[in-house]
Amino acid sequence: MKTYVAKRTGQMVLILILISIFTFLLVSFIPGDPVYAMLGEEVSQEEYERVYHELKLDQPVIMRYFSWLGDALQGDLGESTQFHMSTADVLGERIPITLFFSLSAFAISIPLGILFGVISAVYRGRPADTIVTLIANITACLPQFWIGLLVMYVFAMRLGWLPSYGFTWFSDDLVMGIKQTIMPLFCLALGGIASTTRQTRSSMLEVIRQDYVRTARSKGLSQKKVIFLHALKNALIPVITILGMRLGSMLAGSMFVESVFNIPGMGSLFVKAIQSRDIPVVQACVLVTALVSCVINLLTDILYAVVDPRVRYE
């Protein structure tokens, strides 16, 4: 087990290094002069010199990468060109908000998705299954931003039950915070519920056909015990493997939800940074997202190895 964890961690570090090279090179990919690309054509000579020197464009690319990486590892990701403050400070306020939404949506959608998946697999072919599958298939194809606008139109504009945008931490104003969180969280969780449902359903159907489930039934165990103690345990293994991807898609989905509901998180920051070509912030957002999804992937891989010992000996 220890060697497995060490091996996977090593692979993750390698992947993160590759990603850091890619993110670093984003600046060099920009056609034309990177200083002009970042600051626009109307910069003064001094400003140009300063940024040119700051980007270390007078040094070879490998040296630049290592000094950039060294700074990044110490939490210095350069200065945001639109806010004129350090990128780490800009991100620091926003990452918790995005993590709050992604993780809560994740925590809501996984158990619900598993529950619906089990229901539709157990009642295969009956109305309950048809309804669950149909809803899951349709929701998986609906653009998240569209669902956001729809619920916003209905619940905020028509009915006036909920505020249509904004974000407040629960610790500042509990009632307002909850009111503002309901719609974004719903939109974000919906897609996760749909895909977890589909995944659980198909792996449950696979498992239910196995001999040991029939044995469990024939020795007289109740349906509940067969499903939850015997079948579900094994059916969840493929579901675990995609947990990492789920969280990644939550982080991505958070961008749309933040943009629709005007939430000051990392997603809306990322969009703004791209529009204004604020490359340090773009780089930082990509790195943070990659880091979070890599760590989650590592954790799910370890979890996977714990529940399925075969993986460890590969």
Binding site: Q11, L14, I15, L16, L18, I19, F22, T23, L26, F29, I30, N137, I138, C141, L142, P143, Q144, F145, W146, L149, L150, M152, Y153, M157, G248, S249, L251, A252, M255, F256, S259, V260, F270, V271, A273, I274, Q275, R277, I279, V282, C285, V286, T289, A290, S293, C294, N297
Partner: protein
């Protein structure tokens, strides 16, 4: 001859299912709309009639008008073009690069395999839409760039699939025979391995078009995809959301179009997958 019969049978199985037939018809309607947009659309999509801005649905404007007085229906019809072109182009690019990389990774193995694998793992570690967004920051948007960007950000799946295919096919006797005959590596790859992996490639491509269209709509919604004045579904939703109260139809219908097209594409993709699977066709 035998090959031809098999394709015929596949197509017959595909359209024997009502769901596949229905979704194929809907997708065909979208394609026809896209091709003949200029004949179908009642107005010029960019003609701004400022006297008639933000009107609700009426006889003159079936879906009302937007904030510049442009006809929403005509813009949706033209938007079909953008979505389909980008969807199909991006999938073709992803497939071409991904299949090639997967093929050489699986065929040569060793260091080539390792390098390609690690690179693809890195690509997969960044969520697709975030990777695409970072690339738009660099390459800019527009139809051609978006197709390339979405293609690059979704190619990892093809690499993995094709690599697996090659690893299986490589073991077969006919590849060994081909090698003994003195065929060159690339000839073996393109003449023998590629044609034998054609069905998983087709399945993957049909299933990817929908998600690519969804991604394009998302990018355009965020203002990073197709920019004004070109009509695209995502950017229409984005423009329309400021006027939800005045004309909700303006913001909400393009989203419905995305959903219907993507659902039908996915159902059709599932149909293709089942039709190409000999186990499900009852042959094995």
């Amino acid at each position: 001859m035998k090959n031809r019969e098999r394709w015929k049978k596949t197509i017959k199985t595909l359209f024997a299912r009502k769901v596949s037939l229905f979704s194929a018809v809907v997708v065909a309607l979208f394609i026809i709309t896209a091709v003949f947009a200029s004949f179908i659309a009642p107005y010029d999509p960019n003609f701004a009639d400022f006297a008639a801005y933000l009107q609700g649905p009426s006889k003159a404007h079936l879906l009302g008008t937007d904030n510049y007085g442009r006809d929403v229906l005509s813009r949706i019809i033209y938007g079909t073009r953008v979505s389909l072109i980008i969807g199909v182009l991006a999938v073709m690019i992803a497939c071409a690069i991904g299949t090639f990389l997967g093929m050489i990774a699986g065929y040569f193995g060793g260091i080539v395999d390792d390098v390609i694998n690690r690179l693809m793992e890195a690509v997969r570690a960044i969520p697709q839409i975030i990777l695409a967004m970072a690339l738009t920051a660099v390459f800019g948007s527009g139809i051609r760039n978006l197709a390339i960007i979405l293609g690059i950000s979704s190619m990892a799946g093809y690499v993995r699939m094709m690599r697996g295919q090659v690893l299986t096919i490589k073991q077969s006797d006919y590849i060994m025979a081909g090698k003994l005959q003195g065929n060159k590596n690339f000839r073996l790859m393109f003449k023998h391995i590629l044609p034998n992996s054609i069905s998983p490639i087709i399945v993957m491509m049909t299933q990817q078009v929908g998600s690519t269209i969804l991604a394009e709509a998302g990018l355009s919604f965020l203002g990073l995809g197709i920019s004004a004045p070109t009509a695209s579904w995502g950017s229409m939703v984005s423009e329309g959301r400021l006027f939800l109260l005045q004309n909700p139809v303006f913001a909400l219908t393009p989203g419905i179009c995305v959903a219907v097209l993507v659902i039908c594409l996915n159902m059709f993709g599932d149909g293709v997958r089942d039709a190409l699977d000999p186990r499900l066709r009852g042959e094995v």
